[in-house]
């Protein structure tokens, strides 16, 4: 059993009964809304569900038990860094002094949070080798957009208006080309070389006076350190372009490689990957962005400033006209940043280096355990914090695909790795064990993958039809897309039988 529960729940609308609930909010005076013009008012109450507290709580607790999570088991989802989420950090973010602070409260009453943000910025600058940061972006993708818009502003300020292209390796995250489009650039995709790195000749051929930026993930999404990074960065700067580092894989290189020192001009952090803030079922995250000297002036506003009297304050509206402006409201996802700060302080410099050492050690150990069972498209060179294996040979021999293997892993009690990404690896599985899993877990997971390869040969249908032991089995995704049912309606719901 991979999840604790198997009781599918009716929707909360089906559990509603008119007249239930209440007792949370005092009743308003009857005339409270008399001064609101009738034309602006809602005709009747919204048709929201009515439940008493016990039924509502059971609904959400029972639903939660249909989920797999880091707190329940091993989650080797490549590219996502599903490491342990320390409990102290949840406690800290909920302290009334942090949680209750209004984002437009005067600086004088926000000194604790402002100090924390200022110290966090300093720590991230030290970790990345960057000159300065913005903590405003709400997620990695928004950090990417922030970085690319700053690069755009830099070129424009220099009158360099013909730089309309962003170069992106074909192994990159989908957010990179999507970001380039949002920022008004054309994406040029660079093929990978046989060793998994960027093809240097193709890269040089694409670079030129039209290149605004190059976006590189290092280590790459294949889990490989870009060994030619020095040559790549030199070529970028010779061409007058700037280098963006996608920091999604920072968990591999803490204390080993500082992008700013190496020559990157801008990078984002995913604090929900590297710095343990929980993924929340799809967010929230935070995507601070660090910049080198060329881009400091363009950082979004407001930044946190330390005044001469050692007090902290936010930049005022319009204080720094060179800023690209705002990426969102207020200062950022501060509650997430509190957790990241706590994580960094718990580890210190030595602990963070150990994080990367252990993450890389665990990945290489697991890779060694799987060698011989699955294909290693990039040979036996060491990986960083994650690695790709391929089921291409197994598929040829047995007809069992990577998707089937992933689903069968669920029967063994594991969350599957990331599959079919990066797009350039046939039948690929991207496996990221992180530094917080004990060797017993790594061994058991490797044995499960080896056992499944055996099943593919002896009983392929068992694997094709997996998962067998889950609350629901494989879903009809075609129906979901062709006849979209995106909200509850009594009629639409009645067409699909309600679980008992």
């Amino acid at each position: 059993m991979s999840v604790a529960g198997n009781r599918l729940q009716p929707t909360i609308f089906e559990k509603s009964s008119p007249g239930r609930g209440g007792g949370k909010i005092p009743h308003a005076p009857k005339d409270a809304l008399d001064r609101i013009p009738a034309a602006a008012r809602r005709a009747g109450p919204a048709a929201l569900p009515e439940l008493n507290e016990p039924e509502a709580v059971r609904h959400y607790v029972n639903l939660s038990q249909l989920n797999y999570a880091v707190d329940t088991g091993f989650y080797p989802l490549g590219s996502c860094t599903m490491k342990w989420n320390p409990k102290l950090n949840e406690w800290a973010a909920r302290l009334p002094g942090f949680a209750g602070l209004h984002p437009m409260a005067p600086d004088a009453v926000a000194q604790g949070t402002l100090q924390l943000l200022w110290e966090l910025e300093a720590a991230l600058a030290e970790i990345s080798g960057m000159t300065a940061l913005t903590l405003q972006p709400a997620a990695g993708a928004q950090g990417e957009l922030t970085g690319i818009l700053m690069i755009r502003a830099y070129h424009h300020d220099r009158g360099d208006l013909d730089r309309t292209e962003v170069l992106v390796p074909d192994s990159s995250h989908g957010t990179n080309p999507a970001t380039a489009t949002m920022a008004g650039f054309t994406t040029v995709t660079i093929p990978s070389a046989a060793d998994g790195g960027v093809d240097l000749d193709a890269f040089r051929a694409a670079l030129g006076p039209r290149t605004a930026a190059v976006m590189i993930t290092n280590p790459s999404t294949l889990g490989l350190f870009e060994a030619r990074i020095g040559e790549l960065l030199d070529a970028v700067h010779e061409a007058g372009a700037l280098a963006y580092m996608d920091g999604a894989n920072l968990n591999a290189i803490l204390g080993r490689f500082k992008p700013g020192e190496a020559g990157f001009d801008v990078m984002h952090f995913n604090v929900h990957k590297t710095f343990s803030t929980p993924h929340g079922g799809g967010g929230p995250g935070a995507g601070p962005v660090g910049v080198g000297p060329k881009l400091v002036a363009y950082l979004p506003s407001p930044r946190v400033i330390r005044d001469e009297d050692a007090g902290f304050r936010l930049e005022r509206p319009g204080e720094r006209p060179t800023s690209i402006g705002r990426m969102r409201s207020f200062v950022g996802n501060t509650g997430v940043l509190v957790r990241a700060y706590a994580y960094i302080r718990a580890h210190g410099g030595s602990g963070l280096r150990e994080v990367s050492d252990d993450a890389v050690l665990a990945a290489n150990y697991l890779k060694a355990r799987l060698a011989g069972t699955y294909d290693e498209p990039y040979g036996d060179r060491p990986c960083k914090h994650e690695f790709v294996v391929s089921a291409a040979s197994l598929k040829k021999a047995t007809g069992v695909r990577t998707l089937d293997i992933a689903k069968r892993l669920i029967d063994y009690g594991y969350h599957p790795p990331t599959i079919y990404f990066p797009l350039i690896v046939e039948e690929g599985m991207l496996i990221e064990p992180t530094e917080t899993e004990p060797i017993e877990t790594l061994d058991a997971f490797a044995e499960a993958l080896i056992a499944i390869a055996g099943e593919a040969r002896t009983d392929p249908d068992l694997v094709h039809e997996a998962p067998h032991d889950t609350p629901v089995r494989r879903l009809d995704e075609v129906k979901a897309a062709r006849q979209p049912n995106l909200r509850w309606r009594p009629m639409a719901g009645a067409q699909t039988p309600c679980p008992d």
Binding site: K24, E50, L66, N67, G100, Q142, T181, R328, I439
Partner: protein, 477 residues
């Protein structure tokens, strides 16, 4: 390392299996001259002392003030059950539900979120979710350009300044333009979107408008003529984006009813703590006609191979990991846990509780208006409002500072937040919600009266009040 499992023996076994002598060998591919110099950070902090340090930092923030500050983020009562549910690891330590067989909890909760918000806004398609109200509004503005293939968006000046600035940033790259619709200067409609000016801006035949964006209630707390704005937009072939505050929708007409094509807004009032700016919840909803243009996650109901009802992420061809440079947006990680928080909040308070939250806020705000007017701080505008409004106080910034020293956070100083609008120079934007007490309103009015008449602070704070910064000095200790 505080959370790591490996003993020296474990590490030795792993190295032996890999066939190397030390971890350093795994980093040999980093070119020598590019290796990090050092990592100069404070020493590791054990949990006991780290907890004390975090507590001390949190204690330096002042959250005990009688606060009348809203301006887009509102204090509300959050039923105790919400946080207990949110603290279940099965919710907050899971990731995006890529494997639906072991993610039905998250998937069903998202479907329910879509349904609940659809009910509130009166539109059928709800994206789950966006970063905050500002980013959701910027995505809405971009949607209008994609859907109409036009490049000019008009935004009412009474939309939150942060939202307007975010739209400008998001429009920077695409060659799109955003223009401001001015506000009515005086009379009954003062402070609301100027319909005549909107009509003129829409009339330019060479520069067709993709979308018109207005906020209900607007940033100054006033109710806008949303139907009229929508009709003018539609007559010009533009789409209409309503920026909404979700609690208000318990009592105000839903956007779908007054013709909005898209609703965007900040979901923070639905049970989410202020926490100095986030994480919040960007609400984004549209008509069915725009379903292919809406960015962000969509979850739909379907069946599994055994015919059981189940939920799955769908219409994924809009998303960055599938479509790359042709995606509707680059959004990936969103605010899923906050969407859950909002759903649980709505389930806990129910339709009547939500109406009481909105109506109690309106009642307390009316009480606040009367109390402040009585001590010489009348409203600046005369049009209807729900629970937030502007009062006129000469020397507002200084008065605000003196009130802060006496434990009252007197809303927002508009001269500082909107420095380029002389009409607001003496304005304080104040709000009340169901958590505002009669006592707090009384304190605000009495203290304001003291400040305006030059009376010194009452005895208990007399020592701090004469020197610059009573509450301020307290906060820095």
């Amino acid at each position: 390392m505080p959370y790591g499992p490996h003993t020296p023996a474990d590490r030795a076994r792993m190295l032996a299996t890999i066939g190397i002598g030390s971890v350093d060998e795994l980093f040999a591919d980093i070119p020598g001259k590019l290796r990090a110099s050092s990592l100069d950070l404070p020493e590791p902090e054990p949990e006991l002392s780290l907890a004390a340090h975090l507590q001390a930092l949190a204690a330096r923030n002042r959250v005990d003030l009688a606060s009348f500050l809203g301006a887009g983020v509102y204090r509300h009562y959050s039923p105790a059950a919400i946080d207990q549910i949110l603290l279940r690891g099965e919710w907050y330590t899971a990731y995006t539900p890529y494997q639906p067989e072991i993610s039905q909890g998250t998937l069903q909760s998202i479907y329910e979120y879509e349904s609940l918000i659809a009910e509130l806004v009166g539109l059928d398609v709800v994206s789950a979710s966006h970063y905050d109200g500002a980013a959701a509004t910027a995505e809405a503005a971009l949607m209008t350009c994609r859907a109409t293939r036009r490049e000019r968006v008009l935004v009412s000046r009474a939309v939150h300044r942060h939202y307007r600035e975010t739209i400008e940033t998001y429009f920077m790259g695409g060659g799109l333009t955003v223009e401001e619709i001015p506000l009515v200067a005086d009379g009954l409609a003062a402070g609301t979107t100027d319909l005549a000016a909107l009509e003129r801006l829409l009339a330019d035949p060479d520069r067709a408008v993709a979308g018109v964006v207005a906020s209900q209630p607007n940033f100054l707390g006033l109710l806008e003529p949303m139907s009229d704005i929508g009709q003018l937009a539609h007559a010009a072939g533009a789409l209409f984006v309503a920026v909404v505050e979700p609690v208000s929708l318990a009592v105000l007409a839903p956007p779908g009813e007054y013709g909005a094509d898209i609703a965007a807004g900040e979901g923070q009032p639905l049970g989410i703590a202020p926490q100095y700016g986030g994480p919040y919840l960007g609400i984004l909803a549209s008509t069915e006609a725009l379903v292919r243009q809406i960015p962000g996650r969509l979850v739909g109901m379907t069946t599994d191979i055994d015919g059981k009802r189940a939920f799955v992420m769908t219409m994924r061809a809009r998303e960055q990991d599938i479509r790359r440079e042709k995606a509707a947006s680059n959004i990936c990680t969103n605010q899923a846990l906050l969407a859950l928080a909002a759903s649980v909040y709505l389930a806990m308070v129910g339709p009547h509780g939500l109406r009481d939250v909105a109506a109690l806020g309106a009642a307390r705000a009316a009480e606040l208006e009367t109390a402040l007017a009585a001590v010489g701080a009348p409203r600046l505008h005369s049009g209807p409002y729900l629970n937030e409004f502007v009062v006129r106080v000469p020397g507002a910034a200084e008065v605000h500072r003196l009130l802060l020293e006496r434990g009252v956070l007197a809303g927002l100083v508009l001269a500082e937040a909107e420095p380029d609008d002389p009409a607001l120079a003496d304005g304080l934007l104040v709000c009340a919600t169901e958590v505002t007490t009669h006592d707090e309103i009384g304190r605000f009015a009495a203290t304001l009266s003291d400040v305006l008449t030059g009376r010194p602070p009452v005895a208990v704070e007399a020592g701090a009040g004469t020197a610059r910064g009573g509450a301020v000095a307290e906060a820095r200790r």
